[in-house]
Point group: C2
Chain length 412, copies 2
């Protein structure tokens, strides 16, 4: 009720974008998971046990005291200049020999990279091909700019190229503008699948044929569990003119710092820079200064190998626990890196409907359907091994096994 007695109908004043906004299904869950007795295999948050707290605390303090001009003042929209140059040095030997600062932008988390990339690429109704399943934050960013999301099948080697071609042809025949492919090639969120090397080349071929841009979202890149997984070629290295490559420090340092980065063809990077200027002027200067110092001082290089061991152990624990506790006929992925296993129940099971039961039993997961833009995936769950301890992962999977078995028996 308004002060003068008239009532405002806010729907009248909201934009079309606002009326269509989609909420991130994972973040909607967060309040449910606050009870400490619940073992949460839901959030994809890194474990705070491996945040390099002492080092980051010392860096923050000395940067604010002595280098306040980069830590506390306004700074360039592209990001802390030293950090941008450090990223060039990091990228050149890793398949990006001709990358320059003009290709790089630091963003407020990968989420902002996704948001800005979609804003400069997509008009309402443009078609974007996304993996089945795909990352919810990516789906939300694509959805919010009015794109038409079309799911492409994945198998154990990632995107199925025949299905990709079919979907593109189908939507072109409908007269729709097919614009982008969105992929998470390594240790995918939520499937844990890794895109095979030959598929990477085939996707670039398809992109060239149809004049598409590929958005390559690669936040787990450095959290690999085998040497094979260490040497995977980014799609952006195959054809830097067609790919916006997005990566982040959230998983290898700390996500509260909100420092991620992207590499894009120069004309696209220039547009993203202007879009970011309007979106937030720049990301946190303090966070960027800390991350630059973490790169420069060698902290990142020293820290990451330990993370690989830490998360690999937890993956192994989860896989073993699934082998021991999952009902017969279950299936799951064994990721070569990252944070996630996608679990598939043996028969028709509504993972979303089962979640309150599981929470009652003291374990939580993310129901898989939110990751599938075609409405499938009801019988899948994303199980994250990143945050809980090995002991809790074992106990959590035990509880989940009981819940699943009870439900399957009941529905027989």
């Amino acid at each position: 009720m308004n002060i003068d007695g008239t009532k405002i109908d806010y729907d009248d004043v909201l934009s079309e974008v606002a009326r269509g906004l989609k909420q991130n299904a994972i973040r909607k869950l967060t309040p449910l998971l606050a009870r400490p007795e619940i073992i949460s295999l839901a959030p994809g948050a890194p474990s705070p046990d491996v945040f390099p707290k002492e080092e980051l605390a010392d860096m923050a303090s000395s940067l604010i005291r002595d280098r306040w001009f980069s830590a506390l003042q306004y700074g360039p929209t592209r990001g802390n200049s030293a950090l941008v140059h450090a990223l060039v040095d990091y990228l050149q030997p890793r398949g990006f020999p001709s990358v320059s600062p003009a290709n790089i932008l630091v963003t407020t988390g990968s989420q902002q990279g996704l948001d800005l990339a979609t804003r400069v690429l997509l008009d309402r109704g443009d078609v974007v091909l996304v993996e089945l399943p795909s990352y919810i934050g990516g789906i939300v960013a694509l959805h919010n700019c009015g794109a038409r999301l079309v799911g492409v099948r994945q198998d154990d080697d990632g995107i199925v190229i025949e299905d990709l071609r079919e979907k593109i042809d189908h939507h072109r025949r409908l007269g729709q503008r097919v614009k982008c492919i969105y992929t998470i090639p390594n240790f995918q969120n939520p499937s844990g699948v890794t895109l095979a090397s030959d598929r990477r080349h085939q996707i670039i071929e398809v992109a060239r044929e149809h004049n598409l841009i590929v958005i390559e979202d690669d936040p787990y890149r450095d959290i690999y569990f085998s040497e094979d997984a260490a040497s995977l070629t980014p799609l952006a290295a195959i054809d830097p003119t067609r790919v916006i490559y997005i990566n982040s420090f959230s998983k290898i340092l700390a996500p509260g710092l909100r420092v991620a980065w992207l590499v894009a063809p120069e004309p696209i990077a220039a547009k993203i820079e202007i879009a970011k200027e309007g979106a937030d002027l720049s990301s946190s200067q303090l966070d960027m200064a800390i991350v630059n110092e973490a790169m420069r001082s060698g902290l990142v290089d020293r820290h990451v190998p330990g993370l690989r061991r830490f998360y690999r152990e937890k993956r192994d624990v989860m896989i073993r626990a699934l082998e021991q506790n999952a009902p017969a006929g279950s299936a799951w992925t064994t990721p070569a890196g990252g944070f996630f296993v996608l679990y598939r129940a043996p028969e028709a099971l509504d993972a979303a409907a089962l979640l309150p039961v599981a929470i009652e039993a003291g374990v939580a997961y993310v129901p898989g359907d939110a990751f599938f833009v075609d409405g499938s995936g009801n019988n899948t769950m994303r199980l994250a091994f990143c945050r809980e301890t090995p002991e809790k992962i074992i106990e959590g999977i035990k509880r989940l096994g009981q819940v699943l078995r009870r439900d399957l028996e009941y529905s027989r």
Copy 2:
């Protein structure tokens, strides 16, 4: 040139939004001003001399060490919960008796507040009334979401209500949808003008009559130079159901921390929250934790009175220097707070064309035309007294006076 020999026309793959993106004219200037011998009255950046560096350094360090769960981990999109509650406590006695956490959102600088507010309110072609002149970052955010910006005259008391009514009627008659009024009521950027109390009530009346939302951008609120200016009522306090109120810690703590906030009617705040989730998940958790600690510990309260004295002295110095150095027939505002004086040359003078000459003479300003959405203001300059020392302000205005006199003589 593509790797396979084909050339990509990036214009083909960019969105309509990207093709129309507008760059912030002030930030475009930044690279020009890097030479240390130039006295820059251009940037609206606070003086680093008054950053509370020692206190912030200690807070950052102990928060990362001991309260990493709020400083380093993912957190709620609305912002650090303690900070949101601290803002409620801050607002309640200041004209917002019924504000609650559901009305508040922490953003990555005021710029993100502007961007998100415009995204949830404005469709392509919607009319927004903006002051002549107005803040460039606001203009950019409004422009980037496709709004039609219509300038409204200001006098020494701010927006001229008759002109506001006329413009609304005119655009309604053209069949356009008039949606918002964007105002900076206190010590406006760039004019330095303060909106008179009766005008505030009249603007709310107009908004009610035409079902408009007011975006009230108030970053200089606490940097006032008189008791009168201290007690100005926010438009949001007159009618909280119609106003999105935006404020920031950039000017009272440090802008590199990128912590700003907004107050909005609950249904609009809910939409902005979802939009922010897609835009960056959350702002920097470390920055928010630091700002919360600065509020909680009393640092903000202790720090701000000194800022008022510090900037008032610099305003006084600039006004005296203008009195002594400006060519006859010049006009300027005497702001009751904030960072800016708007200077108007005595006759036709192209401030943009004169800028390279001024830079050559060792002084810089922002040409006023970029602030006027109707293309006027060519003979105005924004002179910021925030960043340079009093000595440099005096010398800068002296240099500017010489440049102006020379140009005026030459053009006679």
